[in-house]
């Protein structure tokens, strides 16, 4: 037992828990029966309080390791504590890529399941758990092997269930065949939001990967100016020197907390301007490394320290296709409130999974990084919640650190289904986190 102060990637709301590091499934099971309040934690990349339990027990999943052989069809079994970074280091040289990766490689496979993470290919390939064929789950009432065909109810409750059904110890999933470690990228610059949105709506289907960076601080005619990058894995014939190298470690690091005011409206505006101007107006078929394309921020260790002592929140929501104007309304609300926000990420979502708490739904998603500090920020985000709710959309739990709990049930109408499954495997409500308490996801 080791009392440790834990917080999410946004560095807000720390709490202290007893951190234990189980090495076996039996270890995990023993902790789940012995602890009244317990949650698993991976690499701590949830932005808010999803992987902390104040005064309770936090199971560090990092010793639940091991990467099995990758089969002919790409099937591999990995320990839940393995990071996507570690998996790629093994799999890329063999010609396999993870079927879904979020914007960082520094997430554990267990965490990827708990948040049912998505990547730039959601509009084509769906979320992470779509590619999971089976997993081992330790619950307070026993350990189970679950899959989309074997106790599908529990499998899908766990996909996006934020760790509240139990602790995932290993995951079997299908990898994606690649011929090179390069991506062919098309880049386009748009001076306003409607241009990029119509380009995405009409053209994303032609690409496996697509994402737009949106400037949320420019007002007026250029509101929501964007850079759209879309790509495909390069085939052997597409590049000069085809190779299969794993990801490189970060070369830069932020060694200490920056002063809280470093990222202010002025500096962020300047950064956004630079970013926008440095992108090519139109470029086709540029070869980029997998890391550059998928995980640009992984090049800088601890970049969250740039936000200083106060930390930051990430606001990510999705809305159905027909509510595309909510994206416009949200960006206009943000840019007019002059709350500083870093380049936002705009993406299209494809089909949802059956997971009752899985975040993606067919339509649009927008994610913004916002430094804590501006007095107007809490109210502006509450207003955005209303917009999102009204449009039939929802907020992503893995990013959340401030949602009003009274809005959760309307955003996740199948919360009741989730709680019923949770009650079956966790009748005494042992699985709980600060996030679950804050958003009333405990079922108590």
């Amino acid at each position: 037992m080791n009392r440790t102060s834990l917080y999410g990637w946004g560095r807000t709301s720390p709490s202290v828990a007893n951190v234990v590091t189980p090495t076996t499934e039996d270890d995990v099971a023993a902790h789940l029966t012995a602890s009244r309040e317990v949650i698993a934690r991976g690499l701590g990349r949830s932005y808010g309080d999803a992987a902390q339990m104040s005064g309770g027990v936090v199971l560090d999943n990092r010793e639940l390791g091991g990467i099995g052989p990758i089969g002919e069809d790409g099937t591999v079994t990995v320990g839940a504590g393995v990071s996507i970074d570690e998996l790629l280091a093994t799999s890329i040289p063999q010609g396999w890529f993870v079927p879904v990766t979020p914007g960082t490689r520094q997430v554990s496979i267990g965490g990827a399941v708990a948040a049912d993470v998505h990547g730039k290919n959601h509009h084509v390939d769906g979320s992470f758990c779509t590619h999971v064929t089976e997993m081992r789950l330790v619950t307070p009432s026993g350990a189970f092997t679950v899959s989309p065909t074997n106790d599908a109810e529990l499998f899908w409750a766990t996909a996006g269930g934020m760790g509240l059904t139990g602790v995932v110890t290993s995951v079997t999933m299908k990898m994606l065949r690649i011929e090179t470690d390069q991506v062919l990228v098309d880049t386009e610059r748009f001076n306003a939001l409607d241009g990029v949105m119509s380009a995405m709506a009409s053209g994303d289907a032609n690409y496996r990967y697509s994402v737009a960076w949106v400037d949320c601080m420019t007002r007026g005619a250029h509101m929501g100016r964007s850079i759209l990058t879309r790509g495909e894995h390069a085939q052997r014939d597409d590049v000069e020197k085809p190779a299969l190298h794993g990801p490189k470690a970060a070369r830069l690091a932020v060694p200490f907390n920056a002063p809280s005011g470093l990222l202010n409206p002025l500096s962020i505006r300047a950064f956004n301007e630079l970013w926008f101007r440095s992108a090519p107006r139109h470029q086709v078929g540029e070869a980029q490394s997998l890391s550059t394309f998928f995980h640009p921020l992984d090049g800088v260790h601890d970049w969250n320290r740039l936000y200083g002592r106060r930390g930051f929140v990430q606001y990510q929501f999705c809305v159905p296709d027909e509510a595309g104007d909510t994206i416009v309304a949200a960006i206009s609300r943000l840019s007019s409130s002059r709350v500083p926000s870093f380049l936002a990420v705009l993406k299209r979502f494809g089909a949802a999974t059956p997971g009752p708490l899985s975040f993606p739904m067919p339509g649009w998603t927008l994610a913004l990084d916002l430094p804590v500090g501006p007095k107007a920020l809490p109210g502006v985000l509450d207003d955005l919640d209303e917009l999102v709710l009204h449009a039939g959309g929802r907020i992503y739990f893995a990013k959340d650190a401030r949602l009003d709990p009274t809005k959760v049930r309307a955003m996740y109408p199948r919360l009741g289904d989730f709680l019923a499954v949770k009650a079956r495997v966790d009748p005494e409500h042992h699985m709980v986190s600060d996030l679950a308490l804050r958003l009333q996801l405990t079922g108590k």
Partner: protein, 255 residues
Amino acid sequence: MENAFGQPQSVVVLGGSSDIARAIVKKLCAARAHTVVLCGRNQESLNAAASEARKFGATKTDTVLFDAEDPSNATATIADAFEKVGEKVDLVIVAVGLLGDQATYEDDAVLATRMAMVNFTWPVAALAEVRRRLVAQGSGRILVMSSVAAVRVRRNAYLYCATKAGLDRLSQGLADSLEGTGVSLQILRSGPVRSKMTAGLPDAPFSTGVNEVADNVMRGFANGDRVIWNPPLLRYVFAILRHLPAPIWRKVSDR
């Protein structure tokens, strides 16, 4: 649990009918607070504060009666309040205190002791128990109402100023001791506030209304400032005032 902006869901207020505390509680309830337990000496005014909290969004309120002149009840009072919250306590506001009339207290040992008891000794006893409980809980926030009076003692209210100074210094040490426990303590150093405590007195320089105090506290919660100044400018004003030579300070502080 409190959120990333330091907005709590459950609140205990010691000195629950204080005007400043009520203004803060209103803002907290309008944000995320759903459970509020108010502790004080007058049931009627606690009830009024509780119904106000509900009007602003609290769904569960309760009250605890205690007498701040008797520090031996502090532990039981805190226990009762935490029990009534019934979940993790996100925020404890320490707003116990009386301003008193210096002229009637200064030559009376019994009255002077009473002032020290209410403004300092009872809060010390209460903070010990609050600290113990929150540290065990692994999270939580404490707001201690100090005063700019704690920064430099005025001769026309030296008893009040001294008790606040004691509480302020205790809180600084307590805040440091809490580092790494998941619990934090913030000190509110307010200038003169127009409230029932100062009713009838002429407006002093840098006076603010209770709503302005509450706004600055909300902002201080979000930013995690160790000392919340109200109005914020007083941070700089007192940086100078505290170093004035005593004869000049006497002149300035008499005004």
